[in-house]
């Protein structure tokens, strides 16, 4: 759309139920690149005992009209059963898991452990000069933790991307 003022960008979390077939991930990722949509994170895993359905969680951002298009374009794909916009739907939880490696000795090491405790991060690996922390939480919480660790000997970070689910008793 030319010469329309840029609409406000919104962050949306979408869950997409798909047939667990070859190429579906490429198809969805390719849809985003081909149409110029943003992917902030994308997670996928099969969730049924028969391994025939996968649940994909996509975090994206864009103006409301684009978010609506993303949903419509996803729904158009044959292997896609259902698209839920959690942000649109109402209260939901989102969680991400991160592994964070920090190296240091002395006070830095003690401080890293203290901060980890505050964030309820678990130590999943340790040497005399390093920790690997496991942290689960909202992306914000992980961002904050990583920022703090930068001053305390951060070595590397691995993040899973977000999974989300609507609050309450029923499925979305």
């Amino acid at each position: 759309m030319t010469s329309t003022p840029a609409a406000a960008q919104e962050r949306h979390v979408l869950t997409v139920m798909v047939d667990n077939e070859a190429g579906i991930l490429a198809k969805i990722a390719g849809l985003f690149t081909a149409r110029g949509y943003n992917i902030d994170s994308l997670t996928v895993a099969d969730i049924t005992e028969r391994h025939d359905i996968s649940r994909i969680t996509i975090v994206t951002h864009g103006p409301p009209a684009i978010i609506d298009q993303i949903r419509a374009q996803l729904e158009r794909l044959v292997p896609v059963h259902k698209v839920v916009d959690l942000t649109e739907l109402g209260p939901y939880v989102e969680r991400e898991l991160a592994l964070i490696k920090v190296a240091g000795t002395g006070n830095l090491r003690v401080e890293a452990l203290r901060v980890a405790d505050i964030f309820r991060a678990k130590v999943v690996d340790t040497t005399t000069s390093s920790f690997v922390f496991e942290l689960t939480g909202s992306p914000d919480k992980i961002d904050t933790f990583v920022t703090l660790m930068k001053e305390l000997g951060l070595v590397e970070v691995g993040r899973t991307g977000v999974v989300g689910m609507v609050r309450g008793a029923s499925a979305a």
Partner: protein, 582 residues
């Protein structure tokens, strides 16, 4: 009765069961088992093309003219990649098509084997769906589902990639494909409340316009009938996209002509001044809307489409109506009657339209004995209309002149590459249409440049005795490219001259066609008549005024009100922002 059959045999049996009459294809190493299964098969007719692009376009032409899905059979690697343009074309124009591609044996996939290409990967974003068949036991079910997907909802191409070992392997065959749960079931009828809102909006409008598109054609002949009935009830004028021509009769007083970049002045002005647009099976393409922020600024908009992703994609609408055009139009007719709506008085609206019509935007000057291309189309129309011909086109000036000056009163008579704009579409499309409609007069209106893009298919028509006609408007230019160079690049004609043209008449004769050359106005009618009268394929090389350009025209990125009418000065240049627009 259950027996063991090879994958190739199961494929053929399933195609027969799906009612397939024609397969357009070209053999090669990775489809030899399928070709062997087709040997001596009299239930399916295989049309051997000369290039796989021709197979895909022929299947498109067949589908568009008959309403049935087109079927393509090509080998792996180059066979598949050559077909990709036609697949992408069918995807853009929503043409139902099933493309069967051979693949190297399963064990060789991923090893850069001879004639290996990642067909499923390459076609992923230009198909409605695609499959790689890994187990022969799944083959029949996949073919069955592929036809369902290709033909239901918004139609489109589906690719089935079958490795050679799967074609040879055996599986149980019971005479029909095992049914599985339908996972693709698009909504065809709209909610009654939405329909009631839509007809109330039409009943309240003072300046309504129906803006219809290819979706009306795709929804079958009933959709065109319902469109005419709804127009009769509401009295609203009708315009159409390039793809929708024929759904509404061009000889109707409420017909505005095509809209958009090369549409009529009255159609574009009516869109600009309307207070209600009813879009039916049309997708607000950039060739239709022109500059988006100036598109139909005074109107509320209803959008009927089976594909929700078409709605609000570029133009925000007030009332989305999701469903099949034929079903929704029938619902609207019933709802209009049930609500007791009366036609509004549109006398003033039609008076304004008549004022725009009086500009005669399709007018053009005559040039003595030199043939104006518009005149050639006009005469072609006048001399063939009683035969109710099927017209295909290539892409360029001739295509737009055909859309403007050849008039259609029925659907499925107009085969053109709208969305992708594929030069080389017209000849194979005409061949496909003629295969499906052996008694029809099928004419490819072409340009001297476009026709060369798939000219090898002349041989296909000869082989199958298909009496297609090719009518070339020969101006020795890639006319539309030259027109844009005049408009945008101060007439620097970079590579747009058709140098070294063949002698088309001799070329046609070499292929066993009749060749006719028309050079003056005096020869025009007689040449066209000779073309019609000849029972076999005919190639007409009609030499037209070389410098004629296609008007009216809305320059790319301009508003509907900024039309260039004939005779306006079009020479010039544009700033970089305008040059960047397609």
């Amino acid at each position: 009765m259950s027996t063991e059959r090879s994958g190739a045999e199961i494929l053929v049996e399933t195609l027969v069961a799906k009612g397939v009459e024609f397969v357009f294809g070209y053999p090669g190493g990775a489809v030899l088992p399928i070709y062997d299964a087709l040997f001596g098969e009299d239930r399916i007719r295989h049309i051997l093309v000369r290039h796989e692009a021709g197979a895909a376009h022929a299947a498109e032409g067949y589908a568009r003219a008959t309403g049935k899905p087109g079927v393509v059979l090509v080998t792996s690697g180059p066979g598949a990649t050559n077909a990709v343009t036609g697949i992408a074309d069918a995807f853009m124009d929503s043409i139902p098509m099933v493309v069967i591609t051979g693949q190297v044996p399963t064990a060789l996939i991923g090893t850069d084997a001879f004639q290996e290409a990642d067909t499923v990967g390459i076609t992923r974003h230009c198909t409605k769906h695609n499959y790689l068949v890994k187990d022969v036991a799944d083959l029949a079910t996949i073919v069955d589902e592929a036809f369902h997907i290709a033909t239901s909802g918004r139609p489109g191409p589906v690719v089935i990639d079958i490795p050679k070992d799967v074609q040879i392997a055996h599986a149980r065959w019971t005479g029909r494909a095992p049914q599985r749960r339908t996972r693709y079931d698009p909504q065809v009828a709209a909610a009654p409340a939405v329909i009631a809102d839509a007809v109330a909006m039409i009943a309240a409008a003072e300046r309504p316009v129906f803006y219809t598109g290819g979706g009306v054609i795709n929804a079958g002949p009933a959709a065109s009938e319902h469109l005419r009935a709804l127009q009769a009830l509401t009295g609203a004028p009708v315009t159409s996209t390039l793809m929708g021509l024929g759904a509404f009769p061009a000889d109707h007083p409420a017909w505005l002509g095509m809209l958009g970049m090369h549409g009529t002045y009255e159609a574009n002005m009516a869109m600009n001044q309307a207070d209600l647009i009813v879009a039916v099976g049309a997708r607000f393409d950039d060739r239709v809307t022109g500059r988006l922020d100036a598109f139909s600024p005074l109107s509320r908009k209803i959008h009927v489409d089976i594909d929700r992703s078409s709605i609000n994609k570029t133009v925000r609408v007030d009332l989305p109506v999701i469903g099949d055009c034929a079903v929704v139009l029938a619902q609207m007719i019933d709802a209009w009657r049930a609500a007791g709506h009366e036609q509004t008085d549109q006398t003033g609206w039609f008076a304004r339209i008549d004022g725009w019509r009086a500009r005669d935007s399709l007018g053009y000057p005559l040039r003595g004995q030199d043939i104006m291309p518009q005149k050639a189309i006009e005469r072609l129309y006048q001399l063939t209309r009683h035969r109710d011909p099927v017209i295909s086109t290539e892409v360029g000036q001739h295509q737009m002149w055909a859309a403007q000056h050849f008039h259609f009163t029925a659907p499925n008579k107009w085969l053109t590459s709208g969305g992708l704009g594929t030069m080389g579409y017209g000849l194979p499309a005409a061949i496909g249409a003629q295969a499906g409609l052996p008694d029809a007069l099928v004419i490819d209106i072409a340009g001297d440049a476009s026709i060369q893009m798939n000219i090898q298919e002349l041989g296909t028509a000869t082989q199958y005795r298909l009496p297609v006609k090719v009518f070339v408007l020969n101006n020795e230019w890639m006319g539309m490219v030259r027109q844009w160079q005049e408009l945008t690049y101060e007439s620097r004609y970079s590579n747009s001259y058709s140098d070294s043209l063949p002698d088309f008449v001799k070329l046609a004769e070499a292929y066993g066609w009749k060749g006719i050359r028309i050079t003056t106005m005096d020869e025009l009618d007689a040449g066209i008549q000779a073309m019609i009268d000849h029972p076999g394929p005919v190639f007409v090389d009609c030499l037209v005024v070389k410098e004629a350009n296609c008007f009216p025209m809305i320059p790319s990125g301009a508003a509907h009100t900024d039309m260039i009418l004939y005779g306006d000065d079009v020479a010039g240049t544009m700033d970089d922002a305008a040059k960047a627009l397609v």
